[in-house]
Every structure is written in structure tokens, then in C-alpha cells.
């Protein structure tokens, strides 16, 4: 192993973890190679080349989307890299922290993969060289711009000590967690949603949506699209957090004799109620507008959303209870 790498414990740890992961899962590397070959095969399909040719004719939208996504992920990576400087097992060492390399490695790898991905349809003859050059320039420029913006973004300097999880309790609730019952479980996914839908988080998601709007979109339309996107994001966040918390709660309650049905109901009912409440407001506001058929469409979507949530929660809880 090179002396350069040995003197950089953060990079060395990453390299060894990757190498050990391959050792532990012998199928991992062949699976990745197989996946890449499959992707290359799909990229060689003529329709993909045609699609990329169209994208190459409107380079602003892909540039903005890629740059924004790269900026957001770089900013997030910056926060996590700086956090690792205080809470990693290597934090007490007087060794180089390799911040820049750790931040640049992932986007560089993504960029290389994207550039190679564009090369496949060119080799297959479904994408013109001029189109490919435009796309290569767009992708490279977007990644460089996104990385610089993400790098310059201020990171959260208020990182506390390891395992700092002081919860901000706004008001004490006297009516729950006082008597034995599973009801407090329902607050867990809701709390998780509150974290994942903070304005700081949703703003970056909405940024993509707004940036991808075609030029000339009206203000009212933009606001409506942003609001609709936020609602979809919130509904999805509810489902995702219910799934995640189902596994964590099942593991936590593994030593108990809690049964599937009360567990699922306790965990999921507040999520479903929150979705009902949100969808209800959307349907009410939608039907109050001039848009014909909003009520019927809204009700259909609400029922579909609630049903899919119920199924999601039920399936997640079933797997969670089995896997614990």
C-alpha cells in the first residue's frame, strides 16, 4: 500500500472498507459489472440515442438540473465530511483529513460514468458526434459549476459532540406516553417527517422543480407547480418515514411480544390521517378553482394515495416484524 495513502487515514479507511466489502460479498463486483453492462446495453438502444439527441438540442434544462443536483449533493457531502472530523473514530488523530479529495471523489466518479454513458450511443451510432460533444460539455460544465457552488455553500458549523441529539420539545404532552400503550409509536414517523420536510431540505428539492420549468412559465403556474410538488414530496416523505421507522421500531421492540396488527395500526394510523388531512385540503382548494373535474380527480387520487399508504405500511411492518 502506498505511503501516500497510509498517511491519509480517512482515505485508507474508505479503501479498506471497499476492499473488505468485496471480500465479504463475492458477488458484489460481478453484480456491479453486470449492472454496468446492462446499462451499456440499454444505452445502445436506438431510442436512447434519439432521446439524447433531443436533450442536446435543449442544453439549458439538463445543465441546470445536473448543476443543481451536484451543488446540493456536494453541499450535503461537505456537511457530512466536516461532521466526520469531530465524530469519526479517526477524529482524535493528528492526521490529514483529506477533505477536498473526499468531497471530489464521488462527483468525479459520477462524471466519468456519465461521460462514458454518453459515449455508448455514439459508438452504437444512434447519437451524432456533435450531439455527444454538446452533452459532454453540458455534463462536465454542470458538474464543475455544481461542485464549485456546493463547495462554497456554508456548511453547518453548529455540529455538536458525537451522538448529540438533544431534542427540542416545544410543549410537554401530558396525554401520551403516560400509560402503557403503543400509541406513542405513531409520533415516531411523524417526527421523522418533520425532520425530512424541514424548509432547508424541501427547498433544495423545490429548487430542482423550479429550475427545470421551461422559460416563459407564468408566476401563478410556477407557484401551483411548486405547491403541488411540495405536497407530493410530503406525501412521499410520510410513506418513506413510516417504512424506515417500521424496521427501527420492530428491532427496538424485538424483545417484547408485540403483535403484528396492533404494531401496524399504532405505527401507521397517524401517517394515514396526515395524508388524509393533506389530500383533503388539496381537493378542497382544487375544487374551489375553475378546474373542471378537480373534485373527481382529487378524490380518486386521495383514495389511491391512502390505499397505497395502507399497503406500504402493512407490507413494511410485515417485513420488519419478520426480519427482527
Amino acid at each position: 500500500m502506498s505511503r501516500w495513502l497510509q498517511a491519509r487515514p480517512y482515505l485508507l479507511t474508505g479503501a479498506l472498507c471497499w476492499s473488505n466489502l468485496k471480500r465479504r460479498n463475492r458477488a458484489l463486483l460481478p453484480a456491479i459489472i453486470g449492472l454496468l453492462l446492462l446499462c451499456a446495453g440499454l444505452l445502445a438502444v436506438p431510442a436512447v440515442g434519439v432521446f439524447l439527441e433531443v436533450i442536446a438540442q435543449y442544453p439549458v434544462t439538463p445543465f441546470v438540473l445536473l448543476a443543481a443536483s451536484c451543488a446540493v449533493t456536494t453541499a450535503r457531502r461537505k456537511t457530512s465530511v466536516y461532521r466526520s472530523l469531530v465524530d469519526s473514530w479517526l477524529a482524535p488523530l493528528a492526521a490529514p483529513s483529506s477533505v477536498f479529495i473526499r468531497m471530489a471523489l464521488a462527483p468525479l466518479l459520477q462524471l466519468l460514468l456519465l461521460l462514458l454513458a454518453i459515449a455508448v450511443p455514439v459508438l452504437a451510432g444512434s447519437l451524432s458526434r456533435a450531439g455527444a460533444v454538446t452533452l459532454w460539455s453540458v455534463v462536465s460544465g454542470a458538474y464543475v459549476a455544481g461542485f464549485v457552488v456546493g463547495w462554497l455553500a456554508p456548511h453547518d458549523k453548529s455540529v455538536g459532540a458525537p451522538n448529540f441529539h438533544y431534542a427540542a420539545v416545544r410543549k410537554p404532552r401530558a396525554n401520551w406516553a403516560q400509560a402503557p400503550g403503543l400509541e406513542p409509536l405513531s409520533y415516531w414517523p411523524m417526527g421523522q417527517v418533520r425532520v425530512s420536510t424541514k424548509p432547508k431540505v424541501t427547498a433544495s428539492a423545490l429548487l430542482f422543480v423550479l429550475m427545470a420549468l421551461p422559460m416563459g412559465t407564468g408566476g401563478e403556474q410556477a407557484i401551483a407547480i411548486a405547491a403541488g410538488s411540495w405536497v407530493v414530496f410530503y406525501l412521499m416523505a410520510l410513506d418513506v418515514s413510516a417504512m424506515r421507522i417500521a424496521f427501527r421500531a420492530a428491532r427496538w421492540l424485538a424483545p417484547t411480544t408485540v403483535r403484528y396488527f396492533p404494531f401496524t395500526v399504532a405505527l401507521g394510523y397517524r401517517v394515514v390521517l396526515a395524508q388524509l388531512w393533506t389530500c383533503g385540503w388539496v381537493v378542497f382548494l382544487g375544487s374551489a378553482t375553475t378546474f373542471h373535474g378537480a373534485l373527481r380527480l382529487g378524490l380518486t387520487l386521495t383514495v389511491g394515495c391512502l390505499l397505497s399508504s395502507c399497503v406500504t405500511v402493512a407490507v413494511a411492518c410485515w417485513f420488519a416484524m419478520r426480519s427482527r
Binding site: Q6, A7, P9, L12, T13, L16, C17, N20, L21, R24, V86, D87, S88, W89, L90, A91, P92, L93, A94, A95, S158, G160, A161, P162, N163, F164, Y166
Partner: protein, 249 residues
């Protein structure tokens, strides 16, 4: 205060988590070749103080000087003198114990893993676990590895946060003897946060009680020895008395 002569000097240290003040004007010195035990009830700020000493948390104000090097001014030199046992759950699960030791040794610029650390690993009966992945370790085994990492490279100040938790009695005794021998030979100083009063009574040179973010009381070596000789529950009773006294104030 002569910061050169002491292994650790903490002066007027304030630390908080957002608005929640945890350390309020903490002053503490650990002399070279001294074992100081840091006591205190849960959530009194022991771990926060140790994290400030290890440079893992930035204090609001105050100074931490390790062997004459300011942690704020010259963190690399200060951390070079420090051995800190990280929390067992922080160890990387995808590495083996040997790889962890090798990474630490390389980062500290050691040509090989210290012989006395390997000897301690043998007394821990840890050698058989060296090539297993950390995520397959029990809490006690992780704790052993964390301690071994802290002791690599003969650091002049060893900082341990409840490092005896989870250790089996034989390993715990081996560690106590190892640390005592190192301290007695003047190779290092130890700052240990612990709830184990037997360590304070038998092995520590000094004990400091942290209450509500302040050093409420300190006991010298002779006081500890006298209390041990006095009765079976000498130090325990003294600790309780001080806690009650501080509480009533």
C-alpha cells in the same frame, strides 16, 4: 499556571449544546505521570469535557493545553501527544481489528504496532479476534480495541471515557495494571471518566467530581488513601456527602 509541566491544562472552559450549557468555567490540570479520575453523575458533562480535550468538540470559550501545545492554536501538535479511546460504536464495522490498529499506527507515523500494546492485547485475549470484522465484535471486544488504539504510539496523555464498561474482570484488571505501570514509569498521564469507585480508590492519583458542569470537588492521593483505610465505604460515602453538600448550596 505552568502548562509545560502539566500533561493537560484546562482553563475556564465553557461548552454548550446550542442553548444548553454543559460545562461552566471548568478548570482542571493533569500533571505528567498522574492518573486523574473524573467522576460525576450521568449528564454532568464528563464526556463533553473529554470531547473538548480530544478536540472533538469546540468549546464556547476557554483553553485546552496538552503537553504545552494549545489545542486551539496548534491542534496537530496537541493531538500528537494525545491518545483518546473513541466510543466503541464509532469503530468502523467493515474493518478488521488488525486493519484498525494498522491505520492508527500509520496515521501516528509508527513503523509497527507497539510491543506493549500487543502484549496488552494478549492479556485481553484479543489476539484471536484481530482478523475478525469489527461489526462481529461484542461491546467488550470493541472496547478493548478502542483502548488499544488509544494506547498506540505511547501518547503522553491518555483520555478514556468509561473505558472499563463491558470489559470482563480479567481484562479490566489487566488494563488497570497496564495503565498504572505506564503512569508510574512516567510514560503517560491518564484522564479517566468513570463510575467505578474501586479504580478511583486503588489506582487513581487524584479524583475530580464534576457536578452540573463545574468541578465541585477534588481529592488528592493521600485523601483517597486515607478514605480507603478508614472504612469499607470510605470514598463512596465521601462522594455522596459532597454531592449532597453541593446540592444543598
Amino acid at each position: 499556571m505552568n502548562t509545560e509541566a502539566s500533561a493537560l491544562t484546562v482553563e475556564h472552559l465553557y461548552a454548550s449544546y446550542e442553548k444548553h450549557a454543559v460545562l461552566i468555567d471548568v478548570n482542571l490540570t493533569v500533571a505528567r505521570g498522574e492518573w486523574v479520575a473524573l467522576l460525576g453523575p450521568n449528564a454532568s458533562g464528563k464526556s463533553t469535557l473529554l470531547h473538548c480535550v480530544a478536540g472533538m468538540m469546540a468549546p464556547k470559550s476557554g483553553a485546552v493545553v496538552i503537553c504545552g501545545h494549545s489545542l486551539q492554536g496548534d491542534p496537530r501538535a496537541a493531538k500528537g501527544k494525545l491518545g483518546f479511546a473513541c466510543a466503541p460504536e464509532r469503530l468502523p464495522g467493515l474493518l478488521t481489528g488488525r486493519q484498525c490498529l494498522e491505520i492508527y499506527a500509520a496515521a501516528k507515523g509508527l513503523p509497527s504496532i507497539d510491543a506493549d500494546v500487543l502484549q496488552l492485547a494478549e492479556s485481553f485475549q484479543y489476539l484471536a479476534m484481530l482478523d475478525r470484522f469489527v461489526d462481529a465484535y461484542s461491546l467488550g471486544t470493541r472496547q478493548k480495541l478502542a483502548v488499544l488504539l488509544a494506547l498506540l504510539g505511547e501518547p503522553q496523555l491518555v483520555v478514556l471515557d468509561e473505558a472499563f464498561n463491558g470489559l470482563d474482570p480479567a481484562s479490566s484488571l489487566a488494563l488497570k495494571h497496564h495503565l498504572r505501570a505506564r503512569v508510574s514509569e512516567g510514560k503517560c498521564s491518564v484522564l479517566l471518566a468513570t463510575h467505578a469507585l474501586d479504580i478511583v480508590e486503588r489506582y487513581a492519583d487524584r479524583a475530580a467530581l464534576l457536578l452540573d458542569g463545574r468541578i465541585a470537588h477534588q481529592w488528592r492521593k493521600d485523601e483517597l488513601t486515607a478514605m480507603r483505610a478508614k472504612s469499607e465505604e470510605g470514598f463512596e460515602a465521601a462522594l455522596a456527602a459532597v454531592a449532597v453538600e453541593v446540592e444543598s448550596k
